[in-house]
Each structure stands twice: as C-alpha cells, then as structure tokens.
C-alpha cells in the first residue's frame, strides 16, 4: 500500500524526490562516463568497460530501478565498434537509462554484472552465444544454439548473411537418426546429474521422494533466427514477422516494433490509429487471460472450467476477426499507423459482445474460484517472495501478484492509455492464488477500458501519409503484454532495421521458476510453472530425475498434476 502511494506522489521513504536522486547520480559519474543526447524519453550514458561496474552500482542506488533488457550490436560498419546497451528503467520517473559500452574487435572481454543485477544472467549468455562477447568471471556454455553448432561462427555478426550460415551448418538428418537409435539402447547411469541427454526436455526436475530439490530449465527449442531475419526485410514487412513470434500475444510484438521505429524517426502517429491499436491490444489481453484460466483449470483437473472458459473466449475471437480480418495474427499494423478501420456498425457489435462476455464470465468465475479443490490447490503453493521478485526484475502479473505495482501502461504510457482511467491490479499474497486473482481482475478492467476506448474514438486518418527513414537512430518501444513487459529496440538502417532486439516477457520471468519450485511437492509443479504464464506448449512435458534411484521418466505435466487431485478429494 505504501509503495503504491509513494508512486503516486513520486517520493520515497526519506521524502526525497527520485528526480533528485537521478541528478545526484549524474553528478557522481562525471569523471567516468559521458552523457549523450537521447531526447526526452531516455538518457544515454557512454561508459568504458573498466568503469561499467561502478556506474551500474551507483545507478542501482536510485529506488525502483530495474533492468529492462540488454542488447549486443555489431556496429563495425558504422563506427568500428561492437556495442553493448544495458537498458534500465526508472518506474517512478517514466524514464529509461541506456548504458552504452563500446568494445573493439580484438578486446571483447567485459566484466560480468551478475552479482549486482541477477537478471542480467541470461542476457550475458545470449550475447556470448550469438555475438561472441565474452564475460569475465563466469562460466559459459551453449545456450541458444544447438550443441553441434561450429564454435567460432556467431550468427548475429554482420560478417554472415543468412545464406552463408546455412552453408556452414546444415542439420544432418541421417546422423541425428543414428544418434537417436543409439540412445535407446544405452544404460542410463545412476546419479543426480545426467550428462548423456542429447535432446533434453524443457524442465528437468530433480526429486527426492515426492519433493523437488532443484530445477534446471533447458530450452530455446523455438529459436528460429528472427532477429537476423528482420535485418534483411524492409521496414513494413517486419510487423508481420514480429506478429508470428508468439501466436497468443503476437499483436504486442508488432505494436512494440512499430513504436520503436516511430520513436527513432520521430513519426507522429494519428490519434485514431493509436485508439485502434489500444482496442486490439485489450482484446488480445482478454483472450489471453481467458485462455490461461482454461489451461490452469485443465492442469488442476477441473475440465469443466476449461470448457466454460474457452466457450466464453470464442466470442472474443470472432469479434477480433470481425474487427481485423483474422482470428489471430491480425496483420493490421504498419509503421505509422494501422491498415484497417472500425466503423459505427462494428462498434455497436463490439459493445454487444463485451456485455455478453462480462455477464457470462462473472457468473462463471464466482463459482469456479469457490470450488474447494481449486482453492486448496492454488492457495499457499508456489510462493515468490517480494524481495526475490524485485531482485530478478520480473514483469507482468508474476510481479503484481507479489505486491509490486509495475505496469507499463501506467509507468511508461504509450498509445491511447494516456487518455483513459483505469486501476492496476495488485495482490499481496505472493502465491498461485494471488497471480490468478490478478489476471481475473485484469479481465474486468480490460472490459472497462474497451468501453471507454470505443466510446471516445476520435475521427481522423488511420495512418501517416509518408515518412522518410534516417539511418543509425535508436528507438525503444515497450508494451504491456498479457504476460508482462515486451520491449523492442531498433537501430534504424536505410531500407531495413540495422539491429532489432526482441525481448519477450517469459524470457525475463523464467529465472523465477526455480525459486518458486523449491521444496514443494511434485504434483504442484505444473500449476506453479503455468502461473507465470509461459507460452504454454513450451512447458508441455517434464523430465523427472529421481536422485535416489537414478531413474528418469518423461511424463506429461497434467498427468503429474492429476495425481494430487485424487489425494485432495
């Protein structure tokens, strides 16, 4: 409660404004770094790698600072350097701070920041895998690319075009088949860590009896080379690529990309286009939360809930098709506006559908949440303490269920959210039930926001007439997706983006899963993993490694979960 109030008045516990802290910070780094012009939206600081640790340490003293993303970029054709951009966000000031580190080609070793900011762990590993930048003081192994990728080939460098990479590495179908056959006959050795897994499953759960001792996430099965592909496409083709990053929340990615380019080139998007973008964003939030509720009920064994949620959700899908032309992957975003308009008839139909959805959902959810088995499974499991949530820079309903009111729509307003009123849903309990309640509150909030937007839709054009690209400008676009914060960074080129960085919310939230899963029962693992709302088919299967007997079995997650339902009955 106090943090919420303090955010409203922009003061902290000592009564000082955060603005003052920011100025103190700028004073204290005068000798070590250079401040560059970044416009009103962000502050650019250029620092050499030796002073990086000290500058970031001073920056973290400002309250409510969190790491949004880290980008590595090959700018040798522009100015001869490799660059690292660390993007931090200060919630209370709606400002981002970009810390830039230029590196020369023969000296690519950077001190690691893992002890200061836990969240930077995955970003450093990815920069090493895809760009070849080494971080001193930590161990590295293959993260994103497959294990038999050639060692000195770094895909995101400008030395390679996509066709060159395809010649350097072709997946060998016949060899893989032989490898798979051989695995079937080897004897699995006994031990807590199993080195002979060629193609590990998504979550490795180490168990002792029925309690989980440790978790390791191995993933990136869905790596398709999107950032490299975006550099070879034109500006107006990239939104279609961005939309297919995720099929459930695709529109946030294309909006975020368009906003990044529009900020970099100072394009003024007409108001009607911003309202239409917000309307479709909220529709997407509705359908995504209803989908999550259905999947959560299915994992708990309550299939009636699954069927009813998806029955209510179908009307939202049909409405989205009426407004945009396709049930999913809407394809109406281009840089500078939208491609399709909403007329009076469609507004009337939308309001009818929303009234129906709200009525049906309210009667259904009151019953579903009060079912005793559902309550017993959700309350008290998967605790994520508030301090950990802050240290890991988590985003979305995961962090709002632990008492931190972080929401991009309020902190860094975009599109039409400046013009309407709404509340941020926050709960304090930190368990699975809290995260579920946050999402249920957000559904009602979204219906309210949609009514306000449809009411106030202004007249005007739906896209900018024309715009001119200018190379080598930086732009950041961020949007509140149903799962959390999505942030894209674009460095513009002449006909296509020079560097495009995508950071999806699940990337930031997954390091929280091992903390939530410690010392809980095996049957509670599926709903805990699902409560951060990962792209669901990634967490479809789990591998259980029994430390005592050394047995490994692959089990689908919902089967694990159903076992406890029998016990609770």
């Amino acid at each position: 409660m106090y943090t919420y109030l303090s955010k409203l008045c922009n003061v902290d516990a000592n009564g000082k404004f955060n603005e003052v802290y920011l100025n103190e910070f700028i004073q204290s780094i005068q000798g070590m770094a250079r401040i560059e012009e970044g416009g009103t939206d962000f502050l650019r600081i250029v620092v050499l790698k030796d002073n990086l640790y000290n500058v970031v340490e001073k920056l973290l003293k400002i309250k409510d600072v969190y790491l949004r993303t880290m980008v590595s970029s090959d700018e040798r054709t522009i100015n001869g350097f490799f660059k690292l951009y660390y993007i931090f966000g200060i919630d209370t000031l709606s400002k981002s701070v970009i810390v830039e580190v230029p590196l020369t080609e023969n000296d690519l070793i950077v001190p690691t920041l893992v002890n200061l900011v836990k969240a930077v762990d995955w970003y450093e590993r990815e920069a090493h895998d895809l760009m070849g930048i080494k971080f001193a003081g930590r161990n590295q192994y293959r993260f994103v690319l497959p294990d038999d990728w050639p060692t000195d080939v770094y895909p995101l460098r400008k030395d390679y075009a996509i066709q060159d990479l395809m010649k350097l590495y072709t997946p060998k179908v016949i060899e893989r088949a032989k490898e798979v056959e051989a695995e079937a006959v080897t004897i699995i050795p006994i031990g807590p860590y199993h080195p002979a897994l060629h193609e590990p499953e998504y979550f490795e759960l180490y168990v002792r009896g029925e309690k989980i001792v440790d978790v390791r996430y191995v993933g990136f099965m869905v790596h398709r080379g999107i950032e490299k592909l975006g550099e070879s496409m034109k500006y107006n083709q990239v939104p279609f690529l961005a939309e297919r990053i995720c099929g459930i929340c695709g529109f946030v990615h294309s909006t975020s990309y368009c906003q990044a380019v529009e900020q970099a080139l100072q394009i003024d998007v007409p108001e009607r286009a911003q309202y239409i973008r917000s309307i479709v964003l909220e529709l997407e939030r509705l359908h995504s939360h209803l989908l999550w509720l259905g999947v959560a009920f299915h994992l708990l064994g309550y299939d009636t809930g699954f069927m009813h949620s998806w029955r209510i959700r179908e009307q939202v899908m049909i409405l989205a098709e009426l407004l945009t032309g396709s049930r999913k992957t809407y394809g109406i975003n281009i840089v500078g506006g939208v491609r399709r308009d909403i007329d009076e008839d469609k507004i009337r139909k939308s309001l009818e559908v929303l009234k129906n959805v709200e009525k049906e959902f309210k009667t259904f959810i009151d019953i579903a949440v009060s079912v005793p088995q559902v309550k017993a499974r959700l309350k008290g499991t998967g605790i994520l303490p508030k301090s950990e949530a802050h240290a890991l820079s988590l985003v979305g309903p995961t962090v709002r269920g632990s008492g931190i009111p972080r929401d991009i729509r309020k902190d860094y307003p975009y599109a039409a959210y400046r013009y309407i009123h709404f509340d941020v849903a926050v709960q304090d309990e930190c368990d699975n039930m809290a995260r579920a309640l946050v999402r249920i509150d957000e559904i009602f909030e979204s219906i309210d926001i949609l009514r306000q937007l449809l009411d106030k839709l202004p007249k005007g054009a739906i896209a900018v007439e024309s715009w001119d690209p200018e190379p080598h400008r930086i732009g950041i676009g961020s949007v509140e997706a149903p799962r959390g914060e999505v942030i894209h960074m674009v460095i513009t080129g002449i006909y296509s983006p020079y560097r495009w960085r995508v950071r999806a919310p699940t990337y930031q939230n997954l390091p929280a899963v091992p903390i939530m899963l410690r010392e809980i029962e095996l049957a509670d693992a599926p709903i805990t993993i699902a409560s951060i709302d990962p792209c669901f088919s990634c967490t479809d299967r789990a591998l259980i490694i029994n430390i005592k007997t050394g047995k490994i079995e692959g089990v689908p997650l919902y089967v694990l979960s159903r076992k406890k339902l029998e016990a609770v009955r």
Binding site: Q237, F240, H308, T324, S326, T329, G331, T363, P372
Partner: protein
C-alpha cells in the same frame, strides 16, 4: 460441496453452442481474409507483389520464353499486402479457407506471361503487358527506345544525344 453444482444450471440455460461444421455453415465473418486470386486479365507482371510479400509466397519463375507468377498457398500468411500494393488492383482476397490437399504441387497456381525481347541484344527483360502499359503512359518517348533492355537503352540514348548535337 454444493457450491460447484451451481455450474449445472448455467450449462442447462446455455444449451449447446456447437457449430456442426461440415453439415453447417462455418463461422466466417465479413472481413475474413482467405486465399487470394490473381486476375490474369489485369495482371501486368510488374512484380510489386513479389517484393512486398513477407514469406515470398508470390514469386517469379522464368521458364524458357515465358515468365510465371507462382502463388504458393502453402506458404501464404493471408496478410493482404499484395492486394494493397498491386497498381492494377488485379489481386482479389477471397474467403476461401478449405485449402487442404495431399500433394504439395496442388497448392501452386500459376499465371503465365509472355516476355518481350530486347531489339538489340535479344535479352528477355520484361513482360509484354508491362511494356504495352509503359508505352501508353509515356507517349513522348519513341517506341524504338522503349523496346530495348536498360543497358542497350542507355547506350542508344547516349548515341542519340551525342550524334544530334
């Protein structure tokens, strides 16, 4: 125990919502984007659609004396950018979604264009229809200049301007 039984009256009131699809109409709305159809009479073979298509579902293939515009519906993402970009409005977005098939080659559709040949070097450089359209639009330039490929046209224009001086 009794609480969750309250779901039963809700189910009874709503009844069945199932759309019996093969025996009933599908739930397609008026703005749905399905497969596209290229009108062979209007298409001039300019290639604007092949350059804007994100997955390159529309592409040009040269087969001897003809240029073929191939549409691979298996790779199409149904975005409609080709229909927005075509200068002749030759591409129509239909509501067709029943496109399944068991052979890959059935998913192609071709529009065949005949090519016009450069008078000087014999290279086939553009379709006949696009050539005719340019001739109608640019009436100031003489026909002999237009029917040359870009390299030959540069040389010929240079010769004309220098020799008439």
């Amino acid at each position: 125990m009794v609480q969750f039984l309250k779901i039963l009256p809700i189910s009874a009131k709503i009844g069945t919502v199932t759309v019996m699809y093969p025996y009933d109409r599908p739930l397609v709305t008026e703005s749905f984007r399905g497969a596209i159809e290229v009108d062979p009479d209007k298409c001039i073979g300019c290639g604007a659609c092949t350059r804007i298509c994100p997955p390159k579902a529309l592409s040009f293939i040269q087969e001897g004396e003809t240029l073929i515009l191939r549409y691979f519906v298996g790779r199409c993402i149904f975005c409609g950018m080709c229909a927005d970009t075509c200068p002749e409005k030759a591409i129509k977005i239909t509501k067709e979604f029943e496109l399944a098939s068991d052979q890959i080659y059935e998913l192609y559709s071709d529009v065949q264009h005949s090519l016009s040949i450069c008078r000087k070097c014999g290279k086939k450089f553009v379709t006949r229809k696009l050539m005719n359209k340019v001739k109608n639009l640019v009436k100031e330039l003489p026909e002999e200049l237009l029917e040359l490929c870009p390299n030959c046209r540069r040389i010929e224009s240079l010769l004309r301007t220098t020799t008439t001086r």
